[in-house]
Amino acid sequence: MSAGRPLLEVAGLDAWYGDFQALFDVSVSVAGGEVVAIIGANGAGKSTLLRTVAGLLPRTAGAVRFDGADLAGVPAHRRVALGISLVPEGRRIFPSLSVEENLLVGAQARRPGPWSVPAVLELFPLLAGKRRRGGGQLSGGEQQALAIGRGLMANPRLLLLDEVSLGLAPIVVRRIYEALPAIRAAGTTVVVIEQDIGQALRAADRVYCLLEGRVALEGAPASLDRDRIAAAYFGVRA
């Protein structure tokens, strides 16, 4: 990647969720190697943003550029081959595939890279010894670990994590986040949607806060105080 060019650049994006406009003129820029968290209330457009970047939803205005290339018209499965993996909200594990098969199907795009079934199992001890277990017979935390592992199997340059900690016990959330440094060390850039603001501020280099489909706040965690975040999150002016 050439110096200075962001890995992911979302510029002036409008997107619709059905008949409802979910994003208004959203611009987000993520540099290679960063961990960026996206926070915001329910319905703020966080998932719509990631789903549009992944190619599941069409953009109606603006642009999504990946490593400088415009992704307009590129279908979701081609974006995986380019190096964008979305770990969707609700994990979406394939229930009729075993844990190992869920990981193997993650490598469908045949991108070369460091991740393999043993590497993922080492990253998530939660899954160790459950290779043959059916995808539908896992706990929420195991499903989340498997979903992230499945995303990693595509050896993405950009990993998008939608609602990582939703519905998980705090201890499980911590174990999932413990994998982040290793993912980052493998050269992967991460964008994560996080409900838990404290967790987001601890894990991320930069945070975007969305409010009603617009970027309300952006910055490094150290530069943001609680009042500004609360104002951007809830839309109230102190």
């Binding site: 992944a54 599941l56 081959a81 979305l86 969707p88 979406r92 394939f94 199907v105 469908q108 795009a109």
Partner: protein, 288 residues
């Protein structure tokens, strides 16, 4: 003795029904599409073999080498060019499209080949049999069952062990999540339809050797295929083989009582399964 003989004949016939049913089951499993033209594609393959036999004098079993790949390609193109536009919306579109295809195929075959019944002659294998004690088992019905089992076993291996198989099962579970791991669902659907037509081509040619066929025979075959799938249980390939055998045995034993009772007995067994065990003999209980 007659009963024992009919029982064996019915079991062997199950191999043919299973071959008819497996493609129907595969397409439904992967893309929730009921292909009402499935039986007509079998008859199309039988006519394809007939043309080759008439033109070259080949044994019809050898025409499989051409007809099966040709039907695979036809299935792939049919899905990419037509059926992919019908799936994914409401459930009615694929039913109407494949119903239309069924009518087009029947009339096309009628136009090209007339309504006469035709047959494929595979030579000595059709008339010779293996003596097992006092039972005589025809080599050709035996070959049909072995082929049916091989087709199902091959398909099972493909689904369980290969990259394509995992992609098809993932697409069946959740098409959008499959897209997110890099599976092009349009391609996956087309491969499923290609495989379905390849298997039903084998079934159609075996049918043509076993008995006579005519352009309007497809829908009857479709019903037998449906019955084999439902009796065996949706989503279980070996269940489909068992379902085909149950249907085959019911038909031959029914026909033993009275020739007119054969097909009816098969339908009655099917209705009984629907009434008392709707998930089929080997299917998982339906939970939605």
């Amino acid at each position: 003795m007659t009963t024992a003989n009919n029982l064996v004949q019915g079991l062997l016939l199950g191999g043919l029904y299973a071959m008819f049913a497996t493609g129907l089951s595969l397409m439904f499993g992967v893309m929730r599409l009921v292909n009402l033209a499935h039986g007509d594609f079998a008859i199309l393959a039988a006519f394809l073999a007939l043309v080759m036999v008439d033109g070259t004098g080949l044994n019809p079993l050898l025409t499989l080498a051409v007809a099966v790949p040709a039907m695979f390609v036809l299935g792939y193109l049919l899905q990419r060019g037509l059926l992919n536009f019908a799936v994914g919306g409401d459930g009615l579109a694929p039913v109407l499209v494949t119903f239309g295809l069924s009518i087009i195929l029947q009339n096309l075959l009628l136009e090209l080949f007339s309504a006469d019944s035709r047959g494929l002659d595979a030579g000595a294998i059709e008339d010779t049999s293996l003596a097992l004690g006092r039972l005589n088992v025809g080599w050709f019905p035996l070959l049909t069952l072995v082929t049916g089992a091989a087709v199902l076993g091959g398909l099972q291996l493909l689904l369980a062990r290969t990259r394509l198989g995992r992609a098809l099962r993932a697409t069946s579970d959740d098409p959008e999540a499959a897209e997110l791991v890099g599976v092009d669902h349009r391609h996956a659907f087309a491969m499923a339809t290609g495989l379905a037509l390849a298997t039903v081509a084998i079934a159609g040619i075996f049918l043509g050797i076993r008995t006579t066929f005519s352009p309007a025979l497809g829908p009857t075959r479709l019903i037998f295929a449906f019955e084999a799938v439902i009796i065996g249980g949706l989503g279980s390939l070996w269940g489909t083989l068992a379902g085909g055998m149950v249907l085959g045995v019911a038909q031959t034993l029914g026909a033993q009582v009275s020739p007119g009772w054969g097909v009816l007995t098969g339908h009655l067994v099917f209705l009984a399964v629907l009434a008392f065990r709707p998930s089929g003999l080997f299917g998982k209980p339906v939970t939605t």
